[in-house]
């Protein structure tokens, strides 16, 4: 066990994987500086800066993965992936099937995601709900350093495509970079979940399997289901709800795809009330899928969701109101019969 920061844990796992396997390489915009610790250990051939050409260097990751490498391609922020969406939808998602199952694509797409630090509607999206639609695309977003390291290790070692989302609010690197967290005049501590930004990481690293949720809190009255920063918001909300005698469980999905259907069903079967807390858009994504899982499993439940209902506004108080904050979660949970 050792204490690590969230971003550090991700890089630590990448470093472990790179040390283990020569075929693991990484590229993306500014990675040489952002991941300078990887650069100086593995050299400029394995840690490459790219031009601002997301389509080409993502597709190149696919091509490289099909030709023997195991690339970790960094797309900076997930908001920029739409520039290269076709690589995901039409290539990464399809080529194994097109080959009749003969061709694996051991590719990790790494990107920051999520908001709360006020960077505007084009730099704080989650987009995980839509990504999860495409066949053969695994999508994960860890909420703690241990999961960050464990899921990254799994992501690099699996022969499948994994979109690995680092929540920007949890990552010390992104907060410094994007929120100007370096300013002594700014204090984001009340927004940043301490347990998420820093925490214990098992050594040697342990893989965290894809598609396995983690129960963060057991409760009998209502299940709060989320991931990333949302999982922490749910913990806080559970605390508040506890104060009014509502006993909430918190399920941290960790993976959006594959989705841990059993865990969802187990929790909600107990509580018969569920609030899905999702930093992604309300329609077309994760929160609806959870509803479908419940109905398919024939679990009758009072259901509510707290998600993003439009463009994330820039002004801090508007942004806060638009994101799934604790107050909204508590209100939704308390409002369920």
């Amino acid at each position: 066990m050792t204490i690590m920061k969230y971003g550090q844990a991700v890089d630590f796992a990448v470093a472990e994987a790179m040390a283990e396997d020569d075929r693991v390489v990484t590229w993306g915009e500014d990675v040489k500086l952002i991941h300078r610790d990887l650069l100086v250990r593995f050299g400029p051939e394995r840690v490459r800066d790219t031009p601002i050409s997301e389509s080409a260097f993502l597709y190149a990751g696919i091509g490289a993965a099909m030709t023997g490498l195991r690339p970790v391609v960094e797309i900076m922020l997930i908001d920029f992936l739409p520039v290269a969406w076709s690589g995901i939808v039409n290539a990464a998602s399809k080529f194994r099937d097109f080959s009749g199952g003969r061709w694996e694509i051991p590719l990790v797409v790494r990107a920051g995601c999520g908001g709360w630090y006020t960077d505007g509607g084009q730099h704080e999206q989650a987009l995980w709900g839509q990504l999860a639609a495409y066949p053969n695309i695994n999508v994960v977003c860890p909420s703690t350093p241990a999961d960050a390291a464990g899921l990254m290790l799994t992501a690099v070692e699996t022969d499948e495509v994994v979109v690995f989302l680092e929540h920007q609010l949890l990552s010390e690197q992104w907060i410094d970079f994007l929120a100007g967290g370096s300013r002594p005049t700014v204090d984001l501590d009340h927004l940043i979940p301490a347990d998420g930004a820093q925490g214990e990481v098992p050594l040697p690293l342990e893989q965290v399997p894809l598609g396995r949720a983690a129960v963060r809190r057991e409760g009998s009255d209502v299940a709060l289901i989320s991931l990333g920063v949302g999982a922490h918001r749910c913990m806080e909300a559970a605390q508040v709800l506890g104060g009014s005698g509502i006993d909430a469980s918190v399920l941290d999905l960790r993976s959006v795809s594959p989705l841990d259907r059993d865990a969802v069903v187990d929790q909600v079967r107990k509580t018969r009330r569920v609030v899905v807390v999702d930093e992604d858009y309300v329609q077309g994504g994760l929160s609806g899928e959870i509803a479908a899982v419940l109905l398919e499993a024939d679990v009758a439940a009072a259901y509510a969701r707290v998600a993003v209902e439009g463009t994330i506004p820039f002004a801090p108080h508007l942004e806060y109101a638009a994101l799934p904050n604790v107050e909204r979660i508590v209100a939704a949970a308390a409002g369920l019969e």
């Binding site: 696919i62 091509g63 099909m66 023997g68 076709s86 003969r102 061709w103």
Partner: protein
Amino acid sequence: MALPKGLDPASAYRTMVRMRLVEEALTQAWADGLVPGEYHSGIGEEGINAGVLAHLSGRDSMALDHRNTSPLVGRGTDITKIMLEVLGSEAGLNLGKAGHMHLMDPSLPAASDGIVGASGPLAVGAAVANQRLNPGRVAVAFHGEAAMNQGMLMESYNLAVAWGLPVIFVCKDSKWSITTYSAEVTGGDLTDRAKAFGLRVRRARGDRVEDVYAAAGDLIRKARIGAGPGFLHVSCHRPAGHFEGDPIVRLLKNPRGQAAEWGPPIVDSVRAQGGGSRSDRAAALTDLAKRGARAARDYTVRSRMDPIRRGRRLLDPASAGRIEAMETIEVETAITVARETVGQRATFGADSGGAR
């Protein structure tokens, strides 16, 4: 032109003939209703494909576009399996999952992508892998001239240069993009464009396999020794149009029939109340007429610019005949097997064979 060093004309000719025969077998199967969906043949591109492929060996990578049958045939992928795949059989190269736009042969390796422009960055990725894991191997991307307006392809030129990769981009310039005359939607000259990214550029005539061979050889040799990427611009002609059933080809082949179909609504529209001025409408008609005239010119040069007819002259008629006979037997056998496997079918859907 003297034959370039290293070119075995018999082998190049055999490759071209094999490609042509497979394409003809498949276009015939398409016409017979045995190939579902679209089929983009590589007829007319054999000189390009054979000229480039003659330099590839071992596990050099290929990234292909929607005209991928011929390059695979040329690299030795089992033609029966290709045919079965294109005819929609589970016994096909990709278990019936791919179809002709996505033929995949990991054993070469070669991957096809129906998204225009994607072959470029895919080849770049393969080249990164080769550079690191298997120095000396190259990756070749095949794409059309119209694909050069697709951002990701241009991005991939830049990436290839920035990273000094062993990749060669082969631009097969058919002058057409489905029904659009590429020059009408393209600014500047395409080789200038490639050069401006810092690519080493060569040009060749696609109807002359020896010309392609020489130009490609130069670029591929340099790429192999780590001297960076190349861009090969090759002219070609596509007598069959964009795909089988191409409406412009139908128009050219059967002007009356097509006019009967297209004419009345066009006439109604030209006359319709509301809309453009008289000169707008006249300009539109001129546009269509010009396109028709260009198509008539470009689509009918088959025999004169046929790479196979020209390639035949590189060897003596007797050897050429022997090659043709042998390839014909192989291709006939393959298509017969494929046709028998999927059986007769006039309709697609649940019951339309292929499982066999």
